[in-house]
């Protein structure tokens, strides 16, 4: 493999505390090293910004609902399907790009890793088929557990050890990365057309509450010591007044300490917090609850969050929160897709237009920005658009421009048709903070890497770390104040190194890299009870045989397996 030396760039690396100093980065055999020989290829990064490759902590990029969203929306790419010159394939789709476009676009934005945020275990093979076809970026997927019958039955009796053994079994069958929980209990209730809107609403038949599920999954996650924490999409998403339920759920993590060998400090990651930070009782008196929620998050060191920024686009919402999508369809009457998955979960999809002329959508935009701007510790707050729910990930550069330039976001805020209403319903106008490049590196690199338990090799530029490096045409000494300029600078990297290879140069994809699928193999003590329950459920209730359930090896030809030993004496 070739050697590189990236010279004279302004380096931003929270791992080493480097804040824009000029520093050379040496690369050899896919790793960052201290020094390279004189034969190394020189990359001139003068007047450029150098960061580690970014990590996407939460996006819907592969799997059954993502794909349904693609193919049932031909109108989303009818005029948006192009092939760029070079080695790339045809790229299609605005709100839900095809797998090819997904890989290329993430790479062009400087990303080297993306987490698929919701994998129904029964559909794991589908998720991995798409991951397999997504070029360049490394990917992993989180199986969903919050409405799984095994989990509901074990946690009803607070059987944490059995829960953990079952989680370990699922991770191995599905090549999954960690524990995702979506609308705990509510999605099982949805199988009967019902929902759980607070954490104390009982789940029909199973006699358990969302609170018990959340707490039990956090405990099981720490019992196993997985690299990532429990990853929660809370109950009552998207409804005015939900911030109380949000804080109630976050409180469940109080007093629990992270137990793992990966440097992770949080026990709960609360995702797309924007959708969960609303005050008021209806859309008429709706107000931002971002301050209340972030005040709590800032105090609790064992929590991480991501934002879920609304980008004010036409997009496609999709979530395992089945009842929410049904509710949304009732509001906008656009085409509704739903699938309930036996014993495990559900999913819904509805196209959505975040019209800036609408005061509610403009306020949601403001709430998302507030979440990031209120965050005291950028190592615990990550920028996402909950792609494609609040907007497509391809809009990250625009989100960065709103966060990094007060001028830019104020221009947007004051040009809303109902600006007065938005300003009075939110606190955004009062916030002066501008996210710095260093903070951006924390929120998109070092932070997510630590949260996912990958901080040893990813999210930084220290010697020994993986050579995933993004170089932007940004001179920190002359940081643009103009929104479109900031956007342009982040939209196409000057260079993207993935595993020490140049994959993007001048915004153009030049190499497909060495794409890997990450998953976690947790060893637990032999558990006869759980194995018996699994056999029983497959014989009686599943529609596929147990032997046809696992993801075959060939689906993930390049695996990065993270081993965890959770056997107990």
């Amino acid at each position: 493999m070739s050697e590189f030396i990236i010279k004279n760039g302004h380096v931003f690396d929270p791992v080493q505390g480097i804040k824009g100093d000029k520093k050379d980065i040496a690369v050899k055999d896919g790793k960052i090293i201290d020094k390279v020989g004189s034969g190394a290829k020189v990359i001139d990064a003068k007047d450029k910004t150098v960061m580690a490759g970014a990590l996407e902590v939460h996006a819907h990029v592969a799997g059954p609902k993502v794909n349904a969203g693609r193919w049932y929306r031909p109108e989303d790419k009818h005029f948006d399907s192009h092939k760029k010159p070079g080695i790339t394939r045809i790229e299609g789709g605005k709100s839900i790009p095809t797998v090819f476009k997904t890989g290329y676009e993430y790479a062009r934005l400087g990303f080297t890793f993306a987490m698929e945020a919701a994998m129904p275990p029964l559909y794991a093979r589908h998720v991995h088929e798409e991951i397999h076809d997504t070029p360049i970026i490394d990917e992993a997927a989180l199986p969903v557990f919050g409405n799984n019958w095994f989990i509901l039955e074990y946690l009803k009796n607070h059987e944490v050890e059995n829960t953990a053994a079952y989680i370990a079994w699922i991770l191995r069958q599905t090549k999954g990365y960690g524990v995702k929980c979506v609308n705990p209990g509510g999605t099982e209730a949805w199988a009967w057309g019902l929902n759980c809107l607070t954490i104390h609403d009982p789940v029909p038949y199973f006699e358990i509450t969302p609170a018990e599920i959340i707490k039990g999954l956090i405990e099981a996650n720490e019992y196993l010591g997985l690299p990532h924490s429990m990853h929660l999409h809370q109950n009552d998403l998207g409804n005015p007044g939900n911030y109380k339920t949000t804080i109630d759920s976050l409180r469940l993590a109080e007093g629990i300490k992270a137990t793992n060998n990966f440097g992770r400090e949080q026990v709960l990651h609360s995702t797309h917090l924007q959708f969960h930070s609303y005050k008021g009782t209806n859309w008429g008196d709706f107000e931002s609850g971002a301050k209340e929620v972030m005040d709590y998050v800032n105090k609790q060191k064992n929590l991480t969050i991501d934002t879920g920024n609304v980008t004010l686009d036409e997009t496609t919402t999709m979530t395992a929160d089945g009842p929410f999508e049904h509710h949304l369809h009732g509001l906008n009457h656009l085409k509704w897709f739903n699938v309930d998955v036996e014993l495990e979960t559900a999913a819904g999809i509805v196209p959505f237009i975040y019209d800036p002329n609408n005061a509610v959508f403009a306020s949601q935009w403001a709430v998302g920005l507030e979440i990031a701007l209120y965050a005291k510790d950028p190592m615990r707050c990550f920028i996402t658009t909950d792609h494609p729910n609040a907007g497509p990930f391809t809009r990250y550069p625009r989100v960065y421009s709103w966060l990094m330039s007060k001028k830019c976001r104020d221009e947007r805020l004051h040009s809303f048709k109902k600006a007065d209403k938005v300003i009075s319903a939110t606190n955004l106008a009062t916030l002066d903070r501008e996210i710095t490049l260093y903070e951006l590196a924390q929120m998109t690199r070092a932070g997510p890497a630590k949260c996912l338990g990958l901080s040893k090799d990813y999210g930084g530029l220290a010697a020994g770390m993986n050579a995933d490096i993004a170089i932007y045409n940004i001179n920190p000494d002359k940081f643009p104040s103009d929104g479109p300029e900031i956007e342009k600078a982040f939209a196409n990297v000057a260079y993207l190194f993935k595993d020490g290879k140049i994959c993007v140069e001048g915004g153009k994809v030049v190499d497909m890299g060495h794409k890997q699928t990450f998953w976690v193999d947790a060893k637990v003590n032999e558990n006869k009870q759980v194995m018996h329950d699994i056999r029983e459920k497959f014989l009686r209730y599943y529609s596929v045989n147990e032997n046809n359930y696992p993801v075959p090896e060939s689906y993930a030809p390049h695996q990065h397996i993270i081993g965890v030993d959770a056997t107990k004496a």
Partner: protein, 441 residues
């Protein structure tokens, strides 16, 4: 010693049963018996061992007879045809693996093909309807575990999906459905008193071609509005009675088939059935599902979906963009209008299943057909390339009618020297690369 292969997936229909047990000879060459399969599935496995199977490519001669050629010759001819043609119909894919489809799409993107699958004459109407109005659905296990009202509308699983009723929809006992059949009320709506109708608690005979009107009447009744005395031959009292009963379901499901997709109005029949299902969700929980035919037609839609964003009829002929318009880029329309210059058929038999005028148009163009067996299409093609039977002689991923993917199993070796779809397509792809590098189009 003969051995048993268990958990075998049946590569016939969209039910994708995964509990077959196949007995094979100890040399892995011959299937000796099949357990758990329906009559059709069993025949598929049994046909594998019949003598007289074609094992090498064949080329049609001037006198109409076929002459054996080598794989290399067939691959070269095919690649040349693809490179030369300005617009090629690449139809089929429903009986091959997702892995093979992926390679096929790569070829299509290079040569300017239009990739279409068997949905085009099957559940294409359903896909149009879902594109227009979405679909509330579920996996088959949900029906087994929860459904207490089951409606078969214009479908006949007793003939087309023989084990569907016993595995998922009528007879099985599930978690919340411990009484099995007794706990479910089964309706069948059809213009014929089919064998499926004979299993139903209630049969509603609709006048052929009046499904849209009848579904409109169901929706109107559900909103408590007035109806004419009869709709599509069904008295209004009956319509009100059924609608009220469906509202009292705990979990209801509508299965539909060719009775809706092939009948006047096509996609609209499904569209309005989906809307009825959506309306029912204001009262209780309801789902609807297409009874997909070919065992992996769903998979083709999925792979096209994640690679191009459209479920079928994907026009890559411009090579720099993907387009989709049923009625234009669909196989039968392309052939009716003679909009393509060459035809490439894989894992399907349009000769048996397309209307004759479309096939007359096809027969006048250079044509390659890739199929394990001789069929109607191979006999009007310039070249027939035999391949291994996917799901029997080679594995690969397939998607069930509810979009659940299952990796099919290889149970016996293919005949010696016979390529798999993946191997063959890979070689065609390489040959296309070589020709294009040499300055082909």
């Amino acid at each position: 010693m003969p051995k048993e292969v268990t958990d075998v997936i049946c590569p016939f229909c969209g039910t994708l049963c995964d509990d077959l047990i196949v007995t094979v000879s100890d040399d892995n060459k011959t299937i000796l018996g099949v357990k758990n399969a329906c009559a059709i599935g069993a025949e598929k496995f049994n046909h594998q061992r019949q003598p007289g199977r074609v094992k090498r490519p064949r080329m049609r001669q001037a006198d109409g007879s076929y002459k054996e050629i080598t794989y290399d010759e067939a691959i070269d001819w095919t690649a040349n045809m693809l490179v030369k043609s300005r617009k090629t119909l690449m139809y089929g894919w429903a009986s091959t693996s997702c892995q093979a489809m992926s390679i096929g799409h790569e070829i299509a993107e290079k040569v300017g093909g239009i990739v279409d699958n068997c949905a085009t004459v099957c559940h294409g109407s359903s896909l149009i309807a879902i594109e227009d109005v979405g679909v509330p659905s579920c996996t088959l296990g949900e029906i087994k575990n929860r459904a207490d009202r089951v409606v078969f509308w214009g479908c006949n699983p007793a003939h087309a999906h023989p084990r569907h009723m016993s595995r998922y929809s009528i007879f099985p006992r599930g978690f919340f459905t411990v009484k099995g059949h007794k706990g479910r009320k089964i309706y069948c709506v059809d213009c014929r008193y089919t064998d499926t109708a004979k299993c139903a608690d209630e049969f509603i005979q609709v006048q052929q071609g009046f499904d849209y009107e009848l579904l409109n009447a169901f929706r109107t009744a559900a909103r408590g509005e007035a109806l004419p005395d009869t709709v599509g031959g069904v008295p209004k009292e009956k319509i009100y009675e059924i609608v009220e009963d469906l509202k009292t379901a705990r979990f209801g499901i509508i299965f539909f088939g060719m009775g809706l997709t092939h009948t006047m109005g096509r996609n609209h029949n499904i569209d309005i059935a989906i809307n009825l299902t959506r309306d029912m969700n204001d009262h209780t929980k309801f789902a609807i599902m297409a009874m997909r035919g070919h065992w992996n037609v769903t998979g083709s839609g999925q792979v096209l979906g994640w690679q191009y964003g459209f479920p079928y009829a994907v026009d890559l002929s411009r090579r720099d963009q993907a387009r989709h318009q049923t009625g234009e880029t669909t196989s039968v329309d392309l052939l009716n209008r003679s909009e393509v210059e060459a035809c490439f058929y894989i894992a399907t038999d349009p000769g048996a299943h397309f209307p004759v005028d479309a096939m007359i148009s096809s027969s006048r163009k250079p044509t390659v057909t890739i199929d394990p067996h001789i069929n109607c299409t191979t006999e009007i093609s310039d070249i027939h390339i035999p391949v291994a039977l996917v799901g029997v002689e080679v594995g690969g991923c397939a998607y069930r009618m509810d979009n659940v993917p299952i990796e099919t199993r290889k149970v016996v070796d293919p005949p010696e020297g016979v390529l798999t779809d993946e191997e063959l397509l890979t070689r065609i792809n390489h040959r296309v690369d070589e020709l294009m590098a040499k300055g082909g189009q």
